[in-house]
């Protein structure tokens, strides 16, 4: 009640300060009159009475001030007026204020942007209820040297029947399905899932129903759930799609539900979700081409889950038959072990490391910005030294002066924070728009509450941090006395400033070194031979032939060949080939048996990457045929048992490409030996930074989903794609042309992480260099201005202009040198965290360190040369007279 009254009355006073003041005035005046009247009544004359009353009361203004100061609103009021005073003072020195605000906004904006990205990508939970219980069912198989093994239907059933830690589990497979019957045939991104999938995620369709076990039963009516976007696009609205049928891969499916508009799953584009119809009795033991997710029971840890999976794994061979042609103990030999991870970790992958490095970089940048502004503030406080001393002498409390100085720096910081936030918004939009980033969850990156809170916190923290430095110098209780004596330029103060600049240089060195290392990494990646040439001239398109359209696999191959012939005939095309997967888009991995290699009784031969290709594959990608010959169409038509292998595989097995020719290999015991007829140059299929996988190229025969690689200078142009579409339609009007891109897309993606880190570190390094230079310039220029008299005397005594210039150059050099020295040491320690981002360069690369520090010192010398030259031109007479 009374608190409320206090608040209300205080607010009323704040709102109507004028009328509140005049009410107090009125009351005081009335008081005075009554007192005067009282004195008169006691027998004084009117004049005497008035004087006596005034003497007793003091001035009305003083009374008003006394009353005013007693309310809580007064503290607010004086803070506000101090703030206005600070703002006025700042606006009077616009140059200083703008420099400070811009410097800070760069630091704060960069920090906020990277934090915003980190928060959205790394910290924010996945958009499902209790998402921390979701795990990806991933395995390892050290026996066949596989660090990453996916899921198989056999394990799905095994875990469902045996595991005790899962509340629910599902397998899924991201792929494409052909939708026909509605205008042009179209390839739709599809998730093929077991019926529990949405239940595991706890996602409810926005409309209609989710899948039930019936939907996954073989022989039941086929059903499909659409994404909101697909429903809207194909049916006008999601609701009108419900209950209708669409033809997917040649079979009509009933639309039973529509996903919520905000549904997302591991950055997979999704248009359709189709239930898998697994037949338990038909599954074999080894078929690891699925992905699995599960929801752990409440309270179950990842370790417990892994332990339970390890218990279940040996049960699988007792439940499912071994694939025909596989060695009897193939499953046991693979030594499959659990490697479960949270679904979030699965999505984030190793991008966390890049982000942490960047976060470190922008934090350093922010520190540099703070040091820079602290230095500016110190110079400013120095200039106000007399004023402050006078105020202290007149009795101003140090608290009051400290508050004033702090308010000024906090105002600057808040200004920097506001501009920084704007920069952060822009930066994030640019980041989301740029294709070169390979960050997961990028589209969900936004400036949210936490980012705002961090920005505000950082801004305030910076303001107080660098505001405290001048406060410490001028406004602490002891310093007030020192200031009152306003000694000449104190050594201590200069030391503070020099220290600040030296640390700026040190931090800038760290940033320059790390961006230098990134630059070397990028260069070294660019120099890596990917195994193909001019990827921008290779058009890739996907053609899928569903079994409902053409059931006979020989016919499928004939159709694919017909499409290839049509494409070959197009203007400007120099080579076309068909492949199961274009370079850098992943390959199948299987064990490879080699005729003249015995891996020991019961041992599985190592797993090799495999790709099905048509003749012309090397020509279409611009790869090198190192030995032997390419596959021929005759090989394919006659089902010849031949293959190509990669150079590194040839060297491993037979130590030279030539020696590999005529050797025999096969995938399993069922098939005949195939003869190696050619050796291809290595292709960096796993990304430029990883070694090229050892690869076998089989003649293309059985793939329904293939990519055509077309080498032409016209690749990527809309007109060329249109011609491709017409050419495809002339072979079969029901085939969609899908996934249209150039080989360049994947090449660039492989560079994405390096170029992303390089760009951001480069920007940070550049800004750090600039701020360091400005800092050194400021310190030397200030030193020159403070020492004018000293220099004047030196020149009068015969010092040469060169000598004077050198004096200050030496000062700048020493500051920069000391800073760079410390910076190099710090960089040697800190860049170790960058190790995983680097390629082809050591984290302690001497050339980079040398160059970075040389650049900084050179910049420092230039920055000190400008004011030093001014010092040399000082006219001794003028300075001496001025004193």
């Amino acid at each position: 009640m009374s608190l409320w009254r206090r608040l209300r009355d205080g607010l009323r006073v704040l709102a109507k300060r004028q009328s509140a003041d005049s009410a107090v005035d009125e009351e005081a005046r009335h008081f005075l009159e009554e007192m005067t009247a009282d004195f008169e009544a006691r027998g004084m004359t009117a004049g005497e009475a008035r004087r006596a009353a005034q003497m007793q009361m003091g001035s009305v203004v003083a009374v008003r001030e006394q009353v005013r100061e007693s309310g809580w609103e007064h503290a607010l009021w004086s803070l506000w007026s101090d703030t206005r005073y600070a703002l006025r003072r700042l606006s009077r020195s616009a140059g200083f204020s703008i420099t400070a605000v811009v410097t800070l906004s760069l630091g704060i904006g960069a920090t906020a942007a990277i934090f915003g990205v980190m928060e959205s990508v790394l910290l924010r939970p996945l958009p499902y209820p209790e998402s921390d219980r979701l795990v990806a069912l991933v395995h390892r198989a050290p026996g066949i040297n596989l660090e990453y093994l996916r899921m198989s239907p056999s394990l799905y059933f095994t875990y469902r029947e045996e595991a005790r830690v899962f509340e629910d589990l599902a397998i899924w497979n991201g792929g494409r399905a052909t939708v026909t019957g509605m205008g042009e045939p179209e390839e739709a991104r599809t998730l093929f899932v077991t019926h529990e999938f949405l239940r595991v995620l706890r996602v409810q369709p926005a409309m209609g129903r989710g899948f039930t076990p019936t939907d996954g039963a073989p022989g039941a009516a086929r059903t499909v759930i659409l994404s909101d976007e697909y429903g809207n696009r194909r049916f006008g609205s999601a609701s009108s799609a419900l209950g209708r049928h669409i033809v997917v891969d040649g079979n009509p499916h009933e639309i039973i539900g529509v996903l919520p508009a905000d549904f997302e799953f591991l950055d997979e584009p999704v248009s359709l979700v189709i239930p898998r119809r697994l037949r338990r009795e038909e599954e074999v033991l080894i078929a690891f081409s699925e992905d699995g997710i599960a929801r752990l029971k409440p309270g179950v840890t990842l370790e417990q889950a892994n332990a339970d999976v390890a218990r279940c794994l040996p049960l699988a061979p007792t439940k499912f038959p071994l694939n025909r042609g596989f060695a009897a103990n193939a499953f046991a030999d693979a030594r499959i072990a659990p490697g479960l991870r949270t679904l979030k970790d699965q999505l984030i992958g190793d991008s966390g490391r890049t982000l942490w490095v960047l976060m470190g970089a922008v934090s350093l940048l922010l520190l540099i910005a703070c040091a820079n502004v602290a230095n500016l503030l110190l110079v400013r406080a120095d200039a106000r030294q007399r004023e402050l001393a006078v105020r202290v002498a007149l009795g101003a409390g140090w608290m009051r002066i400290a508050r004033e100085l702090l308010l000024e720096s906090v105002m600057l910081a808040l200004g920097g924070g506001t501009v920084g936030l704007a920069l952060c918004f822009i930066a994030i939009e640019v980041l989301k728009g740029s294709a070169f980033t390979s960050l997961p969850r990028l589209q969900s990156v936004s400036v949210d509450f936490w980012t705002l809170a961090l920005t505000a916190g950082v801004a305030l923290g910076c303001g107080i941090l660098f505001g405290l430095i001048p406060v410490w110098r001028y406004a602490r209780p002891a310093a007030a006395g020192v200031a009152a004596r306003w000694a000449t330029e104190s050594r201590e103060r200069r030391r503070t400033r020099t220290l600040l600049v030296a640390s700026q240089v040190a931090l800038a060195t760290v940033l320059l070194v790390s961006s230098g290392l990134m630059l070397r990494t990028f260069q070294s990646l660019r120099r890596v031979d990917p195994g193909f040439t001019h990827p921008d001239q290779v058009q890739a398109v996907r053609v899928s032939i569903p079994s409902s359209l053409l059931s006979d696999s020989m016919l499928v191959f004939r159709t694919q060949e017909a499409v290839l012939r049509k494409f070959e005939a197009l203007a400007g095309v120099t080579a076309v080939s068909i492949t199961s997967s274009p370079p850098m888009e992943g390959t199948a991995r299987n064990p490879l048996l080699v005729a003249d290699h015995d891996y020991g009784e019961g041992n599985l031969p190592p797993v090799r990457s495999m790709r099905d290709v048509s003749p012309g594959f090397p020509a279409s990608i611009g790869g090198r045929l190192i030995a032997g010959r390419d596959l021929s169409w005759t090989d394919l038509h006659s089902h010849a048992r031949v293959c190509l292998i990669s150079e590194n595989l040839a060297r491993e097995l037979w130590s030279s490409p030539q020696a590999a020719l005529g050797k025999r290999v096969r995938r399993n015991l069922r098939e005949d030996w195939a003869e190696v007829v050619g050796v291809l140059g290595d292709i960096r299929d796993d990304g430029l930074q990883n070694a090229a996988p050892k690869m076998v190229y089989w003649p293309l025969l059985r793939s329904r989903h293939v990519d055509l690689l077309i080498r032409t200078p016209r690749a990527g142009s809309a007109s060329f794609v249109q011609e491709l579409r017409q050419a495809l339609a002339s072979v079969n009007a029901n085939l969609p042309l899908a996934n249209i891109r150039t080989l360049e897309t994947y090449y660039r993606q492989s560079l994405a992480r390096a170029s992303f880190a390089l760009t951001l570190l480069g920007i940070a390094g550049g800004m750090a260099l600039l701020m360091g230079v400005v800092g050194i310039y400021g310190v030397i220029a200030y030193s020159v201005s403070r020492r004018r008299r000293d220099i004047g005397i030196r020149i009068a005594l015969g010092a040469s202009a060169k000598g004077v210039t050198q004096l200050f150059l030496r000062e700048g050099f020493l500051v920069a040198g000391a800073g760079a020295g410390v910076g190099i040491t710090a960089a040697l320690v800190l860049t170790r965290w960058m190790h995983s981002l680097l390629h082809g360069v050591s984290a302690a690369d001497p050339a980079t360190y040398l160059l970075a520090s040389a650049a900084l010192i050179a910049a420092a010398i230039i920055a000190s040369w400008l004011p030093a030259r001014r010092a040399a031109r000082i006219d001794p007479m003028e300075t001496l007279r001025a004193e």
Partner: protein
């Protein structure tokens, strides 16, 4: 000005105001005069402190204020005790009496 005048004992001004206003609503000077008169000139009230105290007591909800005509036809701010103020006066009087008697006992024991 009487040399015997002293400032009001620290912390008792609130109680004195409440007591004075418990008799009848008064304006500021009226309260000052009453305190001075009743204390036979021992306590002199500083106008600034008095008005500050009014504002504080009003915000605590112990006083109500109202602008009214005085007997000599001028507008003045009249203060009156609220129910909460009356209660507070009781509390403060009790506390005060207890303290005074305690101090009195102490002084006697000393003598």
């Amino acid at each position: 000005m009487d040399e015997a005048n002293t400032d009001v004992i620290q912390g008792t001004l609130d109680m004195l105001i409440l007591k004075t206003l418990s008799l009848e609503p008064m304006h500021g000077f009226g309260v000052a005069r009453r305190i001075e008169q009743v204390s036979k000139g021992v306590f002199k009230v500083n106008p600034g402190s008095l008005m500050t105290a009014f504002q504080r007591l009003e915000r605590l909800g112990w006083l109500d204020a109202e602008w009214k005509q005085t007997e000599n036809a001028r507008k003045a701010k009249y203060y009156s005790l609220t129910r909460a103020g009356r209660k507070q006066l009781d509390v403060e009087t009790t506390t005060w009496n207890r303290r005074v008697s305690a101090i009195a006992r102490l002084l006697k024991a000393e003598a």
